[in-house]
């Protein structure tokens, strides 16, 4: 089971929770299960989310494996100059 922390902007769409617990092997599975559980998150997941796994930020790669008990943090996608 992974603890998935949500940044402040996502919490309203997930009923105010600071984190949710989800079991997932890949980023794809994680995001799919998250959207199933909290449908309001779906549009945000499609366009606005990056996933941090143990401190490393993954913005696009859904195939990325999630290690057991890894800390997951969802944060906004980052733009740069």
């Amino acid at each position: 089971m992974n603890k998935v922390f949500l940044w402040g902007g996502l919490r309203p769409a997930a009923g105010g929770a600071e984190f949710v617990e989800i079991e997932a092997l890949t980023i794809r599975e994680l995001l799919r299960k998250l959207a199933e559980r909290h449908p309001k998150l779906e549009t945000l997941i499609d366009s606005e989310i990056a996933v941090s796994i143990n401190g490393t930020i993954y913005q696009d790669d859904w195939s990325k494996k999630i290690p057991k008990d890894a800390e997951i943090y969802l944060l906004p996608r980052i733009e740069g100059g």
Binding site: W7, G8, Y73, P76, G81
Partner: protein, 760 residues
């Protein structure tokens, strides 16, 4: 030779050296071709009509007289841009910004465009276009825009990120929140708590080359676009959607780029040029004037930041809280979000909360500017750190060191850090001779830290080996400041051949898979990761070829120093019957061993390492005029691994200089009428050569564990600390806390006088 100890114990041969850049000769002889240096046969001159009003409804546009003018070949307005079927709100905003539909949202907003046989005719035609406006009340100031009675830009703007969504429209497009712990509890535990409000003016990236493109679209929907851009693949994708073209049929070629710094990540005139070309069935060249660049291409946000921080008398920061209000122009953005994420990222905080508010105003659409949004937040935070340290009688650098984030710290934006460089940059700053050098009269020293995320993203590269063994590395992430030199070094390193036998080129969109823009400091990080994979694919192939030639098993072929060696013992096997084969040897027989030697990679370059910097500066302030002089400046930054140290230094120096300009001078100035008053380099004054001292640099190398060579992006972080470093230096020189950037002479003088008055 640099040594990468933490990662691989590898001794680099090419990486870490400082050869001349491959595109250098073209750039010192005038041969390099930039956006405006290209022409197509039969090309027309494109020109854009812009709103003179800050906020106005467009009642009607009459182009009939202009159309009748001899030499006018096409006119477009918003009616020529079909938005039906486009659902992406960001793309809809881009279209509306390129050509205003219902309203002109700022002074300079495009309302119509003309393509004519020459510039004179185009200009005359613009004068014949009649636009009927209904002028509306405008708002340009960020704090005025959030007031309940402020003029509304968009009556359908209901603040996102608030639950429940408000039923009353406002200029606050989005609210975002970050942090952890309990700030109220944290402030209880503090011995000293300070609250302040900081403001920063709106600055522009100020690239010297104005936006320029040549567009050509035929009646069969096949098109070409030559353009100065930070991302030609992104431009292709967006332009194809806007124009309703097939991506494969739109070839976008990136010219040499005369600076971007974020400003050329965005479409401003390119879809307009394409639309004009399609309508006229002739190529159209469209070049922005400098005035247009200022009025109508995206600057950074103007900001207003409320901040509160608490510290114990021993120097432990117990709580930190900020509300950051960032302008985003007339359309929603994520600029305050980035400010809220980066603000406290340098520190290890138990209790932290940041709230970002995206504020709509009648200014041009905000665009990324080098570490977008971080410098303004750092100005507030780093100014507060100095003041808190002063209040508890501690040296500011010691308080920074004591509270610095480290590996394992939960960052203020959420994730836990891996190995990071904030501590080492501070330690280096403390030891730096600059910190202990004597100061003259009216001089003050300031320091500040800065953070940027960095980014990687989609990358695609090709490696091709010529019949003589030389290598071409083809990338699709454009080179803004010397990336081709860095990539040639990386390929030379990986293949084991000399740097001058590698040529790095940027492909157009027909020649390579999708690559993201050169933004987020990703150019060298992401392209090198992909280039290394391309090399490794070619090396695997070359080992196989050597095995074929030697009639041995591929497992017995060892690759070292650009050669294939036979035998299990590899390199030093003097008993081997087979002399080693170089890449040139293998290339010679390529036709017999499987055809051309090549490698390819398509990757998502995730795992960009976060970046930290510490800056030190000395400022002299004339107490009678408020005039400032930068006396000395030092940049210390973590590069992960500096591929071409001279260009890394260049990034450090360039970012610092831009930050210095922002801190002391640069600002959009609006009149009561909401019109921009300083749309030119004379009045929007960026630093000139005589304004600056030499900028000293110190490169630290704390390898990024996610990159094969430990590389981190280096392009952006250097602009983050200067606002605060200079603010602290001015404050130390004048004994007055500076809270408003730019710290222009009148503002400094006013602050000194206000302080004197309050002392009386």
């Amino acid at each position: 030779m640099g040594k990468d100890t933490q990662l691989t114990d590898r001794v680099f041969k090419s990486v870490g050296t400082r050869p001349m850049r491959p595109d250098g000769i073209d750039k010192v002889t005038g041969r390099a071709r930039y956006g405006a240096d290209h022409n197509m046969s039969g090309q027309l001159h494109g020109s854009i009509l812009r709103s003179p009003h800050a906020h106005a409804s467009i009642k009607s546009i009459d182009t009939s007289k202009a159309e009748k003018l001899k030499g006018v070949k096409a006119i477009v307005t918003a009616k020529d841009f079909k938005t039906k079927g486009i659902t992406d709100p960001d793309l809809l905003d881009i279209i509306d910004n390129c050509m205003a539909s219902k309203k002109a949202f700022y002074d300079g907003h495009a309302v119509a465009a003309v393509a004519a046989v020459d510039a004179k005719t185009a200009k005359a035609a613009l004068k014949l276009i009649k636009v009927e406006y209904k002028i509306l009340k405008h708002v340009t100031d960020v704090d005025e825009a959030v007031q309940p009675k402020a003029p509304l830009l968009n009556n359908k703007c209901f603040t996102k990120g608030v639950d429940p969504t408000p039923d009353k429209a406002s200029n606050i497009a989005k609210r975002s929140e970050f942090g952890h712990g309990d700030v109220a509890e944290g402030f209880e535990a503090a011995d000293v708590v300070i609250e302040r409000t900081f403001k920063t003016g709106q600055s522009h990236q100020g690239y010297i080359e104005p936006h320029a493109c040549v567009a050509s679209v035929g009646p069969d929907g096949t098109g070409e676009l030559w353009v100065c851009t930070q991302g030609h693949f992104v431009f292709r994708q967006q332009c194809a959607k806007i124009l309703g073209l097939d991506e494969a049929k739109l070839k976008v070629t990136s010219s040499e780029i005369g600076g971007g710094f974020g400003g050329k990540t965005h479409l401003w005139v390119e879809p307009v040029a394409l639309a004009l070309s399609r309508k006229a069935n002739r190529p159209v060249k469209l070049v922005m004037s400098r005035e247009e660049v200022f009025r109508a291409s995206g600057p950074t946000s103007a900001t207003s930041i409320d901040i509160k921080m608490g510290v114990t008398k021993d120097g432990v920061i117990t709580a930190a809280e900020a509300e950051l209000r960032y302008t985003s122009g007339p359309y929603a953005g994520s600029w305050a979000t980035l400010g809220a994420m980066t603000s406290f990222a340098c520190y290890d905080l138990k209790n932290v909360k940041t709230v970002g508010l995206e504020v709509l105003v009648n200014r041009p659409k905000t665009t990324a500017y080098r570490a977008p949004s971080a410098p303004m937040a750092a100005f507030a935070v780093e100014s507060m750190i100095d003041e808190l340290a002063d209040r508890i009688g501690m040296k500011a650098i010691d308080m920074r060191i004591q509270n610095a984030a480290k590996e394992g710290t939960r960052s203020s934006y959420g994730p836990v850090y891996g190995p990071i460089g904030i501590g080492p940059t501070l330690d280096a700053a403390k030891k730096h001779p600059h910190m202990s050098a004597p100061l003259g009269p009216n001089q003050g020293r300031g320091m500040a830290c800065g953070f940027w995320f960095n980014f990687g993203g989609q990358s695609c590269t090709d490696l091709n080996i010529g019949s003589d063994g030389t290598a071409t590395i083809t990338v699709g992430t454009i080179d803004v400041g010397g990336a081709r030199a860095s990539l040639a070094l990386v390929v030379a390193e990986e293949l084991g051949i000399p740097y001058d036998q590698v040529k790095a080129v940027i492909a157009d969109t027909t020649a390579l898979g999708y690559n993201e823009m050169t933004d987020g400091s990703r150019g060298t990080f992401a392209s090198s990761m992909s280039a290394i994979q391309s090399c490794r694919m070619a090396i695997a192939d070359m080992r196989q070829r050597a095995a074929t030639l030697w009639e041995i098993d591929v497992d017995e072929v060892v690759w070292e120093n650009g050669h294939a060696y036979a035998g299990e013992s590899g390199l030093n096997d003097s008993n081997s019957n087979h002399p080693p084969l170089s890449i040139a040897d293998l290339a010679k027989s390529a036709d017999k061993t499987g055809g051309p030697i090549a490698g390819h990679a398509q990757i998502v370059a995730d795992g960009a390492g976060v970046s930290f910097a510490t800056h030190i500066c000395d400022i002299e302030v004339d107490p009678e005029t408020g005039q400032t002089r930068v006396v000395r400046y030092t940049v210390i930054q973590d590069a992960g691994k500096a591929v071409h140290p001279t260009y890394v230094e260049g990034q450090f120096q360039g970012g610092a200089a831009q930050g210095i300009g922002w801190a002391l001078n640069e600002e959009y100035i609006y009149g009561e009428d909401g019109r921009l008053q300083n749309a030119g380099f004379l009045d929007y004054r960026i630093p000139v050569c005589s304004d600056l001292p030499m900028i000293d640099t110190q490169i630290l190398e704390i390898p990024n564990p996610n990159h094969p060579y430990g590389i981190r992006g280096v392009g952006e972080t250097s602009i983050v600390p200067p606002l605060a470093a200079i603010g602290n230096a001015v404050s130390n020189a004048t004994q007055v806390r500076m809270t408003h950037v730019p710290m222009s002479p009148p503002r400094i003088l006013a602050a000194i006088h206000a302080e004197a008055a309050s002392d009386d």
